[in-house]
C-alpha cells in the first residue's frame, strides 16, 4: 500500500514539474514571438513614417499577441523620438483598434501588467473616450499605477494638463515629475513655466521648478528668488535653491542664506556637495556654509572625480 502511495506521489510530482516546465517554455516562446513581431512592426512603421504613406502591416495585428507587439513597437518609437508624424500612427491605431484592445486589457489586468499597459496607452493616440477610465486609476492605492495613469491621461488630453495636475490628491514624486518632463521633451505637452511658478498648488509649483531646471531657463531667476523668500513649504524652498544653483546663480543673498540656515545639517551637507560638483568656487561656498562644512568641499575638489570637470568648466564665483 505504502509503495503505491509513494509511486503516486512521485508520478504527480514529475507531472507537476513537466507541466511547469512546459508553461515556462510556452511563455518564453510567446515573449520571443512578441519581440520578433515588435521588431518587424518597428521597421515597417519607420518605413511608413519616412515615405509618409500608411500601408497594411504584415502580419496584420489581429491577435492579442500581435496587438501587444504593435503597441510595444509604437511605444518604443514614440517615447524615444520627437517631431514624429502622428497621422500614420493614428491611422494604424484606428485600423487595428489598438486603443479598444488596450482599454479592455487595462480593465482585466492587475498589478505590474496593468502598469505596463497604462504606459503603452500613454504612447498611443487614442480614439475612444479613455479619460473616465484613466481617472479611476488615478485614485489607485498603488503609486506606480497612479503615475502611469497620470502620464496616460496627460498624453491623451494635453489641453487639460494643468487642471489634471492641480486636481491630484497626492504629492508628485521626483520620478513622476521626471516622467512629465519626458512628455514635455517629446513635444506633446505644451506648458508654460511662469503660471506654474506663480501657482499656490504644490504639484504645479514643483513641476514649474523642474521645467526651469531641465530647460535651463535663466530668466526665471527673479521668480526663484521670490519663491525662496516667500514660500512656506520646505520642499518647495529646497527645490528652488537647487534650481537656482543649476542655473549657476549666486546664492549669497541674505534671504537665501536665511533659508539655508534653517535647513537640517543633512540637507546642508547634500547641498554643499551638489554645489561643489556644480562648479561653485570655494570662496562662494564659504559665504553660505560654515568653515567645517566647506572642508568636505575641499576634499571633493581635490579628488580625481572633480578634476575632470574642473579642467573643462569655469568655477562659478
Amino acid at each position: 500500500m505504502l509503495l503505491y502511495i509513494y509511486i503516486i506521489i512521485q508520478a504527480s510530482a514529475i507531472i507537476g514539474f513537466e507541466v511547469a516546465a512546459l508553461w515556462q517554455r510556452r511563455s518564453r516562446l510567446r515573449q520571443l514571438q512578441r519581440a520578433t513581431l515588435s521588431d518587424s512592426y518597428i521597421r515597417q512603421i519607420i518605413k511608413m513614417l519616412f515615405s509618409e504613406e500608411c500601408c497594411d502591416l504584415y502580419p496584420a495585428a489581429d491577435t492579442p499577441i500581435r496587438h501587444m507587439a504593435l503597441a510595444e513597437a509604437m511605444n518604443t518609437i514614440l517615447s524615444h523620438t520627437y517631431g514624429t508624424n502622428t497621422t500614420i500612427i493614428r491611422e494604424l491605431t484606428r485600423r487595428y483598434r489598438l486603443d479598444t484592445f488596450l482599454l479592455n486589457r487595462i480593465r482585466w489586468s492587475r498589478g505590474p501588467r496593468r502598469i505596463h499597459i497604462l504606459i503603452l496607452m500613454s504612447a498611443i493616440p487614442s480614439h475612444t473616450a479613455t479619460t473616465h477610465l484613466l481617472q479611476q486609476h488615478l485614485r489607485s492605492r498603488h503609486s506606480y499605477t497612479r503615475t502611469a495613469a497620470l502620464i496616460a491621461l496627460l498624453a491623451t488630453d494635453p489641453s487639460k494638463a494643468i487642471a489634471t495636475i492641480a486636481s491630484l490628491r497626492f504629492d508628485l514624486t521626483p520620478l513622476d515629475i521626471a516622467r512629465i518632463i519626458t512628455l514635455l521633451r517629446r513635444g506633446i505637452l505644451p506648458i508654460a513655466y511662469e503660471p506654474l511658478l506663480r501657482s499656490t498648488n504644490r504639484n504645479l509649483r514643483m513641476l514649474g521648478l523642474a521645467i526651469v531646471r531641465n530647460f535651463g531657463i535663466e530668466i526665471a531667476d527673479k521668480q526663484l528668488q521670490n519663491i525662496i523668500s516667500t514660500a512656506t513649504d520646505a520642499d518647495i524652498v529646497h527645490e528652488s535653491i537647487y534650481t537656482l544653483s543649476s542655473l549657476g546663480r549666486p546664492l549669497g543673498r541674505a534671504k537665501v542664506r536665511e533659508r539655508l540656515s534653517a535647513m537640517t545639517p543633512r540637507r546642508r551637507k547634500q547641498l554643499c556637495r551638489h554645489l561643489t560638483q556644480a562648479g561653485y568656487s570655494l570662496s562662494a561656498l564659504r559665504c553660505i556654509f560654515s568653515p567645517h562644512e566647506t572642508i568636505y568641499s575641499e576634499s571633493i575638489i581635490k579628488s580625481y572625480k572633480r578634476d575632470l570637470v574642473c579642467s573643462t568648466s569655469h568655477n562659478i564665483s
Binding site: I42, A73, S79, T81, T84, R185
Partner: protein, 122 residues
C-alpha cells in the same frame, strides 16, 4: 556604392531596431551587438566607420572602452553615444573619453538620418 559598416550596441533590442531602421540604407551594412565583448570583437574585425552606443554605463566601469574600440592605430571609427542622461558632467566626461558626439533621447529620426548621411559624405 558601399558606405561601410555601422555597429549598434544596445541592451534593448527594440531600441537597436529603432535606430537601425532610422539610419537604414541599401548601401550600408548595419550590425547589432547585444554585448560589449561582441562590440569590441566586431569593431576590431569589421573596421566599422561609425559606432552607435545606446548606453553610458560601459564608460563608467573603469575599463577603457574607447581604447579597446580603437585598438588599431590605422583605423579610427567615429563613436556616437545616445542616452537619456543630459547632465553636463556626463556629457563632458564622455567627450573627454573620446566620444565624437553625444545625443540625448528623445531624438529626431530625420535629423539622425541626416547626421549619419553627413558622416558618410565626410
Amino acid at each position: 556604392m558601399n558606405r561601410g559598416t555601422i555597429l549598434i550596441y544596445s541592451q534593448q533590442r527594440l531600441l537597436a531596431t529603432l535606430l537601425a531602421a532610422t539610419i537604414r540604407d541599401d548601401n550600408r551594412h548595419i550590425i547589432y551587438c547585444s554585448s560589449l565583448q561582441q562590440l569590441i570583437a566586431k569593431s576590431n574585425s569589421l573596421r566599422p566607420t561609425l559606432i552607435y552606443i545606446i548606453d553610458s554605463a560601459p564608460f563608467m566601469n573603469g575599463a577603457n572602452l574607447m581604447e579597446m574600440l580603437r585598438r588599431s592605430s590605422l583605423h579610427r571609427p567615429t563613436i556616437y553615444v545616445i542616452t537619456w542622461q543630459q547632465s553636463e558632467h556626463t556629457v563632458l566626461s564622455l567627450l573627454e573619453c573620446g566620444v565624437d558626439q553625444y545625443f540625448t533621447f528623445p531624438i529626431s529620426m530625420l535629423r539622425l538620418r541626416l547626421k549619419t548621411l553627413a558622416h558618410d559624405s565626410q
